[in-house]
Symmetry: D2
Subunit: 480 residues, 4 copies
């Protein structure tokens, strides 16, 4: 499962002719890009004598797969598509130019469908599309490959060793993609490696589909390792779920687009409340513990937001270039303002009681305080101090559950569908310890180990953030 | 404006070790990819002595652009990201590996904002997001660059020479992104090259932003050529608009996602009508004259559709493998079925009267007949013939205007925003004869000439379509 | 407009002091109103020795019914609430002042829940809320009265004698209120009195709940009569369903509000299409075969409609006061216009082929021609004739199925819930041959015979229509 | 402005024949109902020599008012429609049977439109539909009566004496009915009688339209009284606005239906969160300070709510019949439960700090504590104590601003439209000191004095509540 050697920076950059600064000329030479294909773990890596059979899609009544239908291991997707031909300053040019195996059906498969016992589990918080992924895993396994033993593991990882899995079939899951949440139920914690792998063995599962966030994916790595260690003929596929979109490598996580769409509602409400008041401020807290993707995308989608605060960009309230100064200007100009704040922003600025300093969440991290409530209170204090005789209103909205508990929208439903089918094709082809997801718009397989470590943060040093910030025209709090 | 030489097939492919067919091995060697940067037309190409000034974003009160903020001509985006390392069969490996200039602000600009007179025009049919593009062109020019003379040209190309342009400013366009259609009005036809370019000169416009479909883009090419010919200091930027998503090179066109989202409503309605009847068929016609993207995406998003008919894939009604046989099976199995048909599908199958054979639309093409109405009638005839004593219902929905006349959803609003800002940055940097759009997720500049010719069809020979078809499990009418 | 004294009918009117003409004085005396309670059929009418038992709600674990909880036959609802004290001209004052029994639980019931076999059937076209009514009949019978044998009769009246009824329970119907259409399926026709009543007897049903339109209610009258004739201990309750809102006596039919809400979408789309074109006309056809309620309410809700055409008010196209003249004025004034037309409007104006003249629908009435398509064509001819050189666009939307195939909105869900519970309480109390529905905001029982005959038309002679017409400021085509 | 004498209980009740308890018989005699018309204040009450003119609607180009078009003072609407013919126990039979003047145009009016200067003001919190009312007041005055001087008073009552009113016209307000909030801005407080009436005089307003809640209506009474006292030729009309629906006499307040509709979203989200967890509780706080109408209607509309807590019905947590016992049972049965709580419920149960005991809102009442936060905390404590080893989740949603800051739905838009036109017709006819609103489905005029005092509470002693409670099957906490 080694990621192949990457003796890289293999970018033969063009010589910039020096006129770029003058505004419009372009390099003249062809450029060459080296890249290194990422290796994917496979059951055959430790079970060398597995039998293969021809993909049963060959026998479909309705369609007739041509040779092009099947993908081979030589079909790859480039990870890096933005380049600086001058090789001078932008970071992309120095990162390794990896490629990942393309997702899709293989002509030979490593599982006899009549022997498959598949398990599906959902872990962590809710995210739009979970039920679609489950539904499509069931429908895909059943319809495309003829698998008949498919089980839903209830209530997260603990379901592998407590409680009874539910038998699933296409009829049962028929309408699940129109429902928010997860019919299989979910929970946090409950990760007990031995119990889980024993449970997998005891119940005879040989395909395990794990839908969850970064913590869950780290758990999946451990499970995968243990399964390798025990040399079990069990494939493990992860399907990354994080409404925050904070998982790296893949373009974006499922449910994220739905969340951004839904976030327009509270932003609209905040905008209306602010506009309808005298010196009205609408304040919306959006999900995003360590990353501000939802806040940022929702802001750019809405165009009603004056300022968007995210964890990746520190901010301050008082003084020159601070939030209060900016809001003062906006209120004078427009009579109202709308603030969006990601839940993870400003955590260092909120005073904590001694008890709060000690408090830890299930993962051992300091608990998050409510940045929205704190901001509301600070805003009121500021106004009462600086403008004691003027009307002022702050309306604070925390729409968290209303955003994440909805069914996936059309974009995410399609995404979840292709994600689930990608996972099935990969597992049937004998891959294991992988996740699937879109890279530059095409579905790829990625070692779960890589994804469990990759973090997708808003890079505030990057051109993109700067540019986007220029769209909103909001302060950068001293960043440059 | 030559696309640089492409001494191609520059893919040093790995030697496939022959085990791919056995299900899981991967190539061992690093691979190298050559690519050729696309050249973009620039005002300096024919006006060599233009002055440049420093980008006024430098003086923003609120943010402090770092060096990384500005892009140069060496920042490019790869077009091709899916590769077959074996170089054997899949088409991508043989196409030229082009790269396009990345969109974004340049440090030196070729327009003094105080001398800019910008014109914005919308042409052709409605598409979600047109008003957002207009709004953001106005707000971006005004807020980022300090342009104060911005005009809306009314009712399409003819507005350049008839009627008075409307002066626009941020206050006026404030809420336009929440409205469907185009406040500037639109029309088809009215393209009179001389009158248009004269109108541009007479009114003193030096930046022209043209929002329209492929016909409009072909017009933009002509306008651009004439402007070059006259050596006018006028930059022309196109913003491709096609709800059908049939424009090539760019990832997808704005409004397309909204249309797919909206298409879920009629599909749901058709599904409900079909399910509530005995042998009920729900039939939905979706936009897509020469391409089936909306139909295809809406089908994959919905999961309630039994069969999706698109122009790129011929179909037939009677006999083995035909539509009727398939529907017969579905009705027996489920008691109902849902059909989605793109408006351009099956045009050759519909009998035409002599008058209809002669009829031509504004562009000289045969007019489209209503494939939905025809299908409904054929379905009824078939049933009456084959099952005269059984109940049967076909409910046909044509939701065209309800889909395209809505405001953009969040995804498309963000898209339109970045599109407009991309166009502004490009024009201010002196580029001309270009369009902007996302390529593999990043915004790029593309010669309008290329886009006007590129057609984005659903490639039914490609792996992707085949795979997708396997998701819906629908007949392929003999395709393989 | 004399408000003359008139101790007419049963109205003891005040003496008007003659100052009405001066603008504001009022009668001084108390007035008296006679009214006559409507009699409701009861099983005891022809089965005099039925046993009663105490309502099992008495034994509820969770709530404790007080005496006020139960209604008696003396609880009634007045039908007429708008009066003209002068008694002179307005119609209300001369109609009989009826009262209807109030719906709700009775303390003594005529059915032993353990012996109940309830049948539920849906007939005719779809209407938002059908599934809610079914769900609540099931849940109410089960939870409130402990009934355990509840059956869904499939696909309309024919289901009583062909096919097998489906056993229903609360778990099964749990989410039905969130689904459009009817899970029980529906059909038109299939009314065979003998077979139906035999089917009821054969299957041992003793409570029959019939959900359907006016035709269905006339069928219910016949079934009820036959059951009386056979002296069967079978109660028949009707639940009037007509999305057109054309059933009389009750305030409005379920699903109607949802339809009006949904109709805003096509009207918005038509408005956007019209506004975005030069001389654009948006044309929307809304349901309403003999009555224009949906069109009228949707028009008043929208405020974007310039003219609303309904079956109750004849219109004409050409000449003074005609539609074309009006549209000409609107296009000159605003550049666009929106038309709403009820499907039953203008049927006499559309030319029919000989075949069409002969054609009859299932009920023997002439088939409806597409007034929208006809209007679109007439509009185009008119413009081409009168303004040959000007641009003109008509966009025609027929949203019928998209409006009626949706789930009920909150208002209608509540309505359907109370409707179903009303029906249950009435049937358990031994009433039969009745329907339930709100009269002046409170739920009442009404003999099905009355409702089957009552027609709810928009009274264009009435003050209300005139006033409403003044809101839209549209032409009245010579009406006064 | 006396409400005419009400020598009441004039109900000649039928003699119940004693068989009601046996389940089905009805009274035999006609019954008679006395009622007393309510008197409405009129400018002529203190300005006896006002001139009248013929309603300019007579001269409309488009429609031709018949005699029936105009209403007179003898057109009334009965308030009481539910009767107990036995006169025995139910409260309705003993209340006075009032009638109110019907709203609509009068043939003679007391204002010359060319001399009208109308002022519109919005006060208090946001409510869906405020902008529609404003829009329709402007459009109605302008289009129907030809009034040209219409002003929006900014930011509530204080706008009469500070700041400049905004001139309004139909073009300006064209799209306001599609926007939430109030474009005129609103505020609480600022009521200074002298300054307000002086401001009215100084600015020459002679029609004042006041949109606001019960506090605002009490202010309107005072303003009206002072105007009478000063004998000003100024008509005052109130338009009751309370999203809580806590104003009496009228059927329901505008915006209420929209709020109930919107409340389905958080309830759905809470339901999904609860269902997706192990022992999950979804908790939603809905508006309703002294009344539980939104909570109650939203509960009945949703059918996903297990228990609805409202201010009118006390509840308790611990012990037999308490909330915890009920939830325990539901969790055992279904694995999850959904709670809806009105913001004013349980205020006496929440412990207050000394500071909180002192705290008063702008009206001098004790501030409301967050019942949702308190319940969430109590639920967690209960579970930790009683089920320490079992998973448990409470998700709490406070959707307040997301519910009230939306535009009115179709039902409320129509309502607001008729409300505004009713107010205009009443004012033009010289009535003053009145509000308008629907009574039993028809629009009426009511003395503002009456409405300012009338409270619309959920009557938990009444049959209706009991019956409704039986629908939800929730505990009644000892009520009977």
């Amino acid at each position: 499962m080694e990621v192949a050697s990457t003796e890289t920076a293999n970018l033969n950059t063009a010589v910039d002719d020096g006129r770029a600064e003058e505004g419009g000329r372009r390099p003249q030479h062809l450029d060459r890009l080296s890249f290194s294909p990422v290796q994917l773990p496979h059951l055959a890596d430790y079970l060398p004598n597995l039998q293969t059979i021809t993909n049963p899609l060959e026998n479909s009544q309705f369609y007739h797969p041509s040779d092009e239908f099947y993908l081979s291991s030589s079909d790859v997707i480039l990870r890096q598509t933005v380049l600086d031909l001058s090789g001078n300053f932008h970071s992309p040019s120095t990162s390794p130019h990896l490629s990942y195996p393309r997702a899709g059906p293989r002509k030979l498969i490593f599982f006899d469908p009549s022997h498959v016992r598949a398990a599906i589990v959902t872990c962590g918080g809710l995210c739009p599309g979970m039920n679609t992924v489950i539904r499509e895993l069931v429908v895909g396994l059943w319809e495309l490959y003829g698998v008949r033993e498919i089980y839903g593991v209830k209530a997260g990882y603990r379901g592998f060793y407590s409680g009874e899995p539910v038998r699933l079939n296409p009829k049962l899951v028929h309408n699940w993609h129109k429902m928010g949440g997860t019919v299989l139920e979910t929970s946090r914690g409950g990760f007990d490696l031995d119990k889980i792998v024993n449970g997998i063995q005891d119940r005879g599962f040989n395909q395990v589909y794990i839908i969850g966030g970064d913590g869950t994916m780290r758990g999946a790595v451990t499970i995968f390792n243990e399964i390798c260690h025990r040399k079990l003929n069990v494939a493990v596929a992860g399907i990354p779920k994080t409404v925050d979109n904070d998982i790296g490598i893949i373009d974006k996580s499922f449910g994220f687009q739905t969340a951004v769409e839904m976030a327009q509602q509270p932003i609209n409400a905040a905008h209306v409340e602010a506009e309808s008041a005298v010196n009205g401020i609408g304040l919306v807290k959006l999900m995003g513990r360590s990353t501000g993707h939802i806040a940022l995308h929702a802001t750019l989608s809405s165009r009603d937001v004056d300022c968007c605060l995210i964890p990746e960009n520190e901010f301050y309230l008082e003084g020159k270039g601070g939030l209060f100064e900016f809001l003062d200007a906006r209120l004078k100009e427009n009579g109202h303002a709308v603030l969006v704040v990601a839940e993870g922003a400003g955590q260092d600025m909120i005073p904590r009681t001694d008890a709060q300093k000690e408090e830890r969440d299930e993962s051992g991290n300091p608990v998050f305080l409510d940045v929205g409530g704190w901001l509301k209170s600070e805003l009121k204090k500021w106004w009462a101090r600086d403008h004691p005789d003027e009307l002022f209103t702050v309306k604070y909205i925390d729409p968290t559950y209303m955003i994440r508990a909805v069914p996936a929208n059309a974009t995410d439903n399609l995404y979840c569908t292709l994600l689930a089918h990608s996972a099935i094709h990969g597992v049937m082809a004998g891959y294991t310890g992988f996740v699937c997801g879109p890279i530059n718009g095409n579905y790829a397989y990625i070692p779960v180990k890589e994804v469990a470590l990759a973090k997708n943060e808003v890079n505030t040093r990057d051109h993109k953030w700067a540019w986007v910030r220029s769209v909103t025209n909001q302060p950068d709090f001293g960043r440059s």
